[in-house]
């Protein structure tokens, strides 16, 4: 398992780098569609107007592409800060009490086991147990846990959770997930702005009479264009969920490889699952980054199409079962070596 995991590591990292680039490209292309699509609709709508009023210079498209590129760059650069800021996490610089000292020690241990630099450590003041990692690469990574996790887990379980998070850091999941979270945030912001714009725009264009100029094609295009404004946030969130679901099993396995103690992670997941309450500090935009679904939905317990589409995390029972399988196999192996 060790060898296979390590051999795949570089491929995993490459895949995550590629996915991040693709994500940003898609984001900018989507903005291009919004911009040039708007231009095209505007152009068709004014095609029969006098030349002075025709939409000739497609400035909206260029503005939107520029905006998309700037937003994507900004999201990539400041994603980790924004995610941490949104959860209200506080950085642990000097451990304030024994609990924090233990957390710092455990993170240092796991950083050694994972062979990555020690990430910066944050505590989210929330009573529900949860944890997430963020950052653009292993050298600039952050690990955040909730106060509830510190209260609930013993040392081994905390270690297992941190191992899981450093698995995300090591295979560069954090880059993809953070960029995605920041883009989801940006799009949500855009939607709020845009819906205000549409509402305002409708009030302005209520002069009537012009409608007869628009052919059915233009209306269809207009509808598709408006729909993509509305659907964008939903699509990005579905994307975030789909990306996250696949990564959790791998991070579980990597965490177990670092600690050599899969049963501790299984116990930690059981405890987190048992706590059940939603993590209120963590908003839906960053839900896909957490070790357990902070929204605490019931769908998370099912497999199948619907659950696949609507949850950010694989079923907890299945993750625990896999980890227990690993743990028992390990026990058996070690039991077998004793003469």
């Amino acid at each position: 398992m060790t060898e296979e995991g390590s051999l795949n590591l570089f491929q995993q990292q490459d895949a995550n780098r590629r996915r991040t680039i693709w994500l940003i490209v898609c984001f900018v292309v989507f903005f291009a569609w919004l911009g040039f699509g708007g231009d095209y609709v505007y152009f068709l709508a004014t095609a029969h107007a006098p030349p002075a009023e025709q939409h000739r210079v497609w400035w909206l498209g260029f503005v939107m592409v520029g905006l998309g590129a700037v937003l994507a760059w900004y999201a990539y650069r400041t994603g980790p800060e924004k995610v941490l800021w949104a959860t209200g996490a506080e950085e642990v610089i000097e451990p304030a009490d024994d609990q924090q000292k233990r957390l710092v020690n455990v993170v240092e241990e796991m950083a050694i086991a994972a062979g990555v630099p020690r990430p910066r450590i944050w505590v989210v003041p929330d009573p529900d147990p949860n944890a997430f990692a963020t950052g653009n690469d292993a050298a600039h990574a952050h690990v955040a846990v909730t106060r509830g996790l510190l209260d609930l887990c013993n040392r081994d379980e905390l270690q297992a959770v941190i191992g899981h998070e450093l698995g995300h850091v090591k295979n560069l999941d954090v880059r993809l997930m953070t960029t995605l979270a920041a883009l989801v945030g940006a799009i949500l912001l855009m939607r709020n702005g845009a819906s205000r714009m549409f509402v305002g725009g409708r009030g302005g264009s209520g002069r009537g009479g012009r409608k007869s100029d628009l052919g059915p094609l233009v209306i269809l295009l207009l509808i598709a264009w408006i729909l993509s404004w509305i659907l964008a946030p939903i699509i990005t969130q579905l994307l975030a969920m789909a990306v996250s679901r696949k990564r959790e099993y791998l991070a579980d396995a990597m965490g177990a490889q670092f600690t050599r103690n899969p049963l501790a992670l299984a116990r930690a997941l059981e405890k987190i699952e048992g706590a059940g309450a939603p993590t209120t500090r963590i908003k839906s935009g960053a839900a896909h980054m957490c070790i357990a679904d902070p929204l605490g939905g019931h769908l998370a317990e099912r497999e199948g199409m619907l659950a696949d589409v609507l949850t950010s995390h694989p079923p907890m029972a299945k993750r625990i079962a896999i980890l227990k399988g690993m743990g028992y196999a390990q026990l058996k192996r070690e039991g077998g070596t004793i003469p």
């Binding site: 060790t2 020690n105 455990v106 050694i112 062979g115 040392r155 081994d156 070690e334 070596t337 004793i338």
Partner: protein, 193 residues
């Protein structure tokens, strides 16, 4: 026809460069992982005098256990100074030190009035963490070294292994299972031995 030959030659050259660089990178990772063990062992050696001083006053009655820890620590420091050639002696000395430390912690467990002072709880945490760091540094070294060894021995990378001066790296041996378990022991539980 000659261009097919040329393409094949270029492809072979590119593959060789890739395999060579992969081996060199793995070799450096292995060396770095070995250095990490060193760093963590030094941390442990520095921690032990503090630990012993903290419990000495309260533990006049367990002089033997403390002496054993101090001796094991001094022996380990001495062997470590000998350099990386003495891997075997180093690992023996460190294992002895682990054993002495775990005995000390068992003794501390037996005196609840000792545990009641806040210092000891903090020191226990420090000690657990240090033991874990040493163990994880070794684990990383062994994982990396195993990967390096496997890569250089597997076909077709084995063809360029000689050219890249790849030598199998020695794994950090752990004498027996009891020793290996020491860093994992949760100090709040009594070990079986």
């Amino acid at each position: 026809m000659s261009w097919i030959l040329l393409v094949l030659l270029v492809a072979a050259a590119l593959w060789m460069i890739g395999a060579y660089n992969g081996l060199v990178s793995l070799k450096n990772q292995t060396l770095n992982a070995f250095k990490q063990i060193d760093v963590q062992l030094k941390r442990r050696h520095d921690l032990i005098p503090n630990l012993v001083n903290a419990v000495r006053g309260a533990m006049d009655f367990e002089k033997d256990t403390l002496e054993a820890v101090i001796q094991a620590r001094n022996q380990a420091v001495k062997v470590n100074a000998a350099g990386p050639d003495a891997v075997k002696q180093i690992s023996q000395a460190e294992n002895a030190l682990s054993g002495a430390l775990s005995r000390l912690m068992v003794v501390v467990e037996q005196y609840p009035q000792l545990k009641a002072t806040g210092n000891i709880a903090q020191l226990q945490e420090e000690l657990t963490s240090t033991e874990n760091k040493v163990a994880f540094a070794r684990q990383l070294y062994n994982d990396t070294a195993t990967q390096y060894n496997t890569t250089q021995q597997q076909f077709p990378t084995s063809l360029v292994a000689g050219w890249a001066h790849a030598q199998p790296a020695a794994l950090w041996e752990i004498e027996d299972k009891a020793d290996r378990d020491v860093p994992r022991v949760d100090l709040s539980m009594k070990p079986k031995s």
